[in-house]
């Protein structure tokens, strides 16, 4: 048995932890740079506000209905998510963190010791509500796909219990019949269209198909697994079994700029900042990157002959986690990408082809005594920044040029709440 614990409108719920007056009020949270709606309270959903709607387009509507608007506060969301995930990891043998607000739990054999799984899940739900003040829904099923499907059904049905167990074949059949095939985990837009053309509308219809059929129509083994999962046979690989935090396969860092940037040095500084942060994350998970991708975009609403986003993918001569090396490649790539007299709204980098440090193939010309020294240097750098705060010691490339734009990536966040749980200056004040 698996369970999927999913926090209800997580970012809004986090905002409500320290603002009890917002209970029952329509609330939305905006993306980085206050661009669009990324979390809505049930009251906001009931007003017809769409996920991903551009803020400036729905602003009159928000004001008319007195909707509370917040900029995203990832320091707070990350801390609360960590508290919930650590709690879950303490109650089951294996917890797989799937995203900031979702976690799969392995429940194999637990009913023998703990009795009713529904009661157990209800207890976890109540504890998370009590200890972290976050409402969650829990779906349980024999596979991850069915657990996720159960979770979606609980949310949709608005059951006050917030827990749904799909134990018997009859229960599973009932749930599958209720679920449009487009809502099944793993069915993307492309397959939705294909399945519609094949006359398959519900998850139940998909579950009736044979493995051979799935192989033919749904991209080979992935499709076959999907159908098997719906039939109640677990075959989906977990992210990293037994590990609370799986190593990421790619590391991406991108930001919209608060104001459009036209000058190469300003863009260089922003990208150098992204590279520094991504390389730090890379070292944090003991990985090396083989590929560095850089992209810069013009605004979504700008016009012109140039393509929207320009990308350059660099294959590195040897896998690395060295910020200075990555900075050098990034700077060269940007000189090729950035065109004069174009206003850029966004930039980002992706590190991919990650492998575990220490297991890489030794390069023919690479290994020098300096390499060990550099590794030590970078470790010291990370330690200093951990101890004295992010960005205490930086590479000069990431420092704004005199007269340049300082921290163009910082973005707008006009309605950000304090980092209640992670900064001494931001602790909640309570009136005695």
């Amino acid at each position: 048995m698996f369970a999927l614990v999913d926090c209800n409108n997580f970012y809004v719920s986090c905002e409500r932890v320290f603002r009890p007056d917002l209970a029952g009020q329509p609330v939305v949270v905006l993306s980085n740079n206050d661009g669009c709606l990324i979390s809505r309270s049930p009251e906001a959903k009931a007003l017809g506000l769409r996920m991903g709607a551009a803020y400036f387009q729905v602003k009159p509507e928000l004001q008319r209905h007195g909707v509370q608007v917040f900029s995203s506060n990832y320091a707070l969301y990350g801390d609360i998510s960590g508290r919930i995930m650590r709690y879950l990891a303490s109650v089951v043998p294996v917890a797989e963190v799937y995203s900031i607000d979702e976690c799969f739990l392995h429940l194999h054999g637990m009913s023998a010791y703990c009795g009713s799984l529904t009661e157990l899940a209800t207890h976890w739900k109540e504890q998370i509500r009590k200890q972290m003040h976050i409402p969650v829904c829990i779906g349980l099923g024999p596979t991850r796909t069915l657990a996720k499907l159960a979770n979606r059904l609980v949310k949709q049905l608005g059951q006050p219990s917030g827990v749904l167990l799909l134990e018997t074949p009859a229960q599973q059949q009932w749930a599958l019949a209720q679920t449009p095939v487009t809502e099944v985990w793993g069915v993307g837009r492309r397959y939705s269209e294909k399945l519609a053309a094949l006359g398959i509308r519900t998850a139940a219809q998909l579950a009736e198909q044979s493995e051979a059929w799935a192989r033919r129509h749904l991209g080979g083994v992935t499709g076959a697994r999907l159908v098997r999962e719906l039939q109640g046979h677990s075959c989906r690989e977990g992210g990293a079994e037994g590990e609370l935090e799986a190593s990421r396969k790619t590391i991406m860092y991108s930001r919209s700029f608060a104001q459009p940037l036209t000058q190469l040095p300003d863009i260089q500084v922003a990208v150098a900042h992204f590279v520094s942060r991504a390389a730090e994350k890379l070292r944090g998970q003991h990985s090396l990157a083989n590929t560095l991708t850089i992209f810069i975009s013009k605004g979504r609403f700008s016009s012109g002959a140039l393509p929207h986003t320009c990308t350059e993918v660099l294959t590195l001569p040897a896998p690395t986690h060295d910020t200075s090396e990555l900075l050098r490649y990034a700077a060269a790539a940007l000189r090729r990408l950035v065109q004069a007299n174009v206003a850029y709204k966004k930039a980002g980098i992706v590190l991919s082809g990650l492998e575990t440090a220490g297991q890489q193939q030794l390069p023919l010309f690479g290994a020098t005594p300096q390499a060990a020294l550099r590794t030590t240097l970078l470790a010291e750098l990370d330690q200093l920044n951990q101890r004295y705060g992010r960005g205490t010691v930086r590479f000069a490339a990431a420092l704004p040029a005199p007269g340049g734009v300082a921290q163009p990536w910082a973005g707008n966040s006009r309605w950000q709440t304090p980092a209640y749980t992670t900064r001494w200056d931001d602790l909640l004040w309570i009136t005695a």
Partner: protein
């Protein structure tokens, strides 16, 4: 008359053995066998770190009583505990946070009672508009102005 004596000199360096660790001169410390661990205040204040939140207090409705909560105090609030009679709690009353003592009186009626008698009690008449957010387990106050007073939110 002076006599010159030629002393033999070692041409090669003489390496001395270096002993890592302290070589006690005199008696070995009698405390060695009884060395404890260093006391970690977190273990006292935050036995459940994932369900504990730190908050600051403004106002003096709790001043002067048993809790010792003064204006500006730092509180450790454990949300894993279930509030009992006579606990100091962070409560939500009609959507607002407050810190008071939770008291049960006759006939199972509950009150939020300030430690400072100059302030009025709050009778919990409508449980729907009331919630216990967490139980205050520890109070940190400074006797000298220091770091705590420097972390005062401005504006």
């Amino acid at each position: 008359m002076s006599e010159v004596v030629v002393l033999p000199m070692a041409r090669k360096p003489v390496w001395l053995l270096f002993f890592e660790g302290l070589v006690p001169a005199g008696f070995p410390s009698p405390a060695d066998d009884h060395r404890g661990t260093r006391l970690d205040l977190n273990r006292l204040l935050l036995p459940h770190p994932d369900s504990t939140y730190l908050v600051r207090v403004t106002g003096d409705s709790m001043t002067g009583g048993e809790s010792g909560i003064r204006d500006g105090a730092l509180l450790a609030v454990d949300c894993r505990l279930t509030a009992e009679h006579n606990d100091v709690v962070i409560a939500v009353v009609e959507g607002q946070f407050t810190v008071k003592r939770l008291i049960r009186r006759r006939a199972n009626t509950w009150f939020l009672v300030p430690d400072n008698p100059c302030y009025p009690e709050i009778s919990i008449t409508e449980p729907d508009l009331f919630d216990v957010w967490g139980v205050v387990t520890h109070v940190v106050t400074e006797t000298r102005r220091g770091r705590l007073s420097s972390h005062v939110r401005v504006g």
